[in-house]
Amino acid sequence: MAKSSVKNESSVKNFLYLFIFMMLIWLALTSSLHWQELIVGCVVSIVITFFLNSNYQPLGLPSLNLIKIFYIFIYLIVLFIEIVKANFDVAYRVLHPKMPIKPGVVIIKTSLRQDIAKLILANSITLTPGTFTLDIKKDKLLIHWIYVRSENIEDSTKLIGARFEKYLGKIFS
């Protein structure tokens, strides 16, 4: 009896989570607070949430609170800085007359468990020029690197993944 009530509570929470997410997107799309838009937005969000909620939960989206939202902002700033830095690095390699590249494929490890967290990590690595995620297999990421500094798994994890994983781990803890 008690078990089922706990389950109900979490399913209500999950329902609300996707519903509020959909509603926020709807508000952004319509950019209006007219009562008609709000009613229609609620109806559409409820219908979509009702049908897709069960498929959405296994993704492992983080439960949000103020600290996590703060870390999301920090993460965006870190990502931006890393992208700018990597851009300069690749531009240097392109413009240098000797073209100092040493391309190769390395494997890095991640301690993130949720699928969505791995997706964000992989896409962040792809977004920074010079590194490119080819595939994810369980806790290992296959990465193409423009200048392979180390073939050792631990070292390349530190060089490529750790700078993002530090904050992603906090968001998805």
Binding site: L29, Q36, V40, V44, L52, Y56, D115, I116, L119, I136
Partner: protein
């Protein structure tokens, strides 16, 4: 000699086109009917989007024909692609990146398509565009999660219901108000709000479902064969 002839032919074509085109005043409304739509479309149909007032207001019977053409195309494709032999391919699993990304995006794609066809009478877009977006969402799922199939019964039901709503609304117009097929018998409301333009938004929502399901069935048949 050959080059000389082709040069002369080219010059004749270019001069001819310039001669024909320069007589058409650029950027001016030529047809009387176009002027009429621009001047009266808002008041007569209640839709803030003039294109919609033409497509689902003045020429909604034509739109019904277009949907029927799409329906026939889907059926024809089914007839061509249906094979008796069932081959069993080894389906390669999509990578986790594609799979997770598509599952994350799918509800957003559906929400966006709903936004497009619900706001068809206010902003660019409408039933056809929204339906195409729905189908693109399902295509994403087909590519990312091999082995998943749409619910064929549900798909057929949503297609039929969409078409039926269109025709029933049109038929009601035969008896109420102005008494012609697809007459706009509902109150037109305040211009540029969501609940305006009478039957136009309802028809567009029905169209969105119908076009979406039709394109889904096309995708389903294509993926079954691949």
């Amino acid at each position: 000699m050959k080059k000389f002839f082709s040069l002369i032919l080219l010059i004749i074509i270019v001069v001819g086109m310039i001669y024909t085109i320069h007589q058409i005043p650029f950027g001016k409304n030529q047809s009387k009917i176009g002027k009429y739509f621009v001047a009266n479309g808002k008041d007569e149909t209640g839709a803030a989007n003039i294109v919609t007032s033409v497509v689902v207001g003045y020429r909604s019977f034509d739109t019904l024909g277009e949907v029927t053409v799409l329906f026939l195309a889907a059926i024809g494709l089914g007839a061509i692609l249906t094979t008796t032999k069932k081959q069993n391919h080894d389906i390669e699993k999509a990578s986790l990146i594609l799979n997770t990304g598509c599952r994350f995006l799918f509800p957003l794609v559906l929400l966006f398509s709903a936004y497009i066809f619900i706001h068809g009478h206010l902003s660019p877009g409408g039933g056809f565009q929204g339906g195409a977006v729905v189908a693109s969402g399902f295509l994403l799922i087909y590519l990312a999660c091999p082995g998943k199939r749409i619910n064929k019964v549900g798909n057929t039901i949503s297609e039929s219901v969409g078409g039926l709503i269109f025709i029933i609304l049109g038929a009601i117009g035969l008896f109420v108000g102005d008494r012609y097929f697809l007459a706009n018998f509902l109150p037109k409301g305040e211009l540029n709000t969501l609940f305006s333009a009478g039957i136009i938004p309802i028809i567009y929502i029905a169209l969105g479902f119908k076009v979406g399901s039709e394109l889904n069935s096309v995708i389903d048949k294509m993926m079954e064969e691949s």
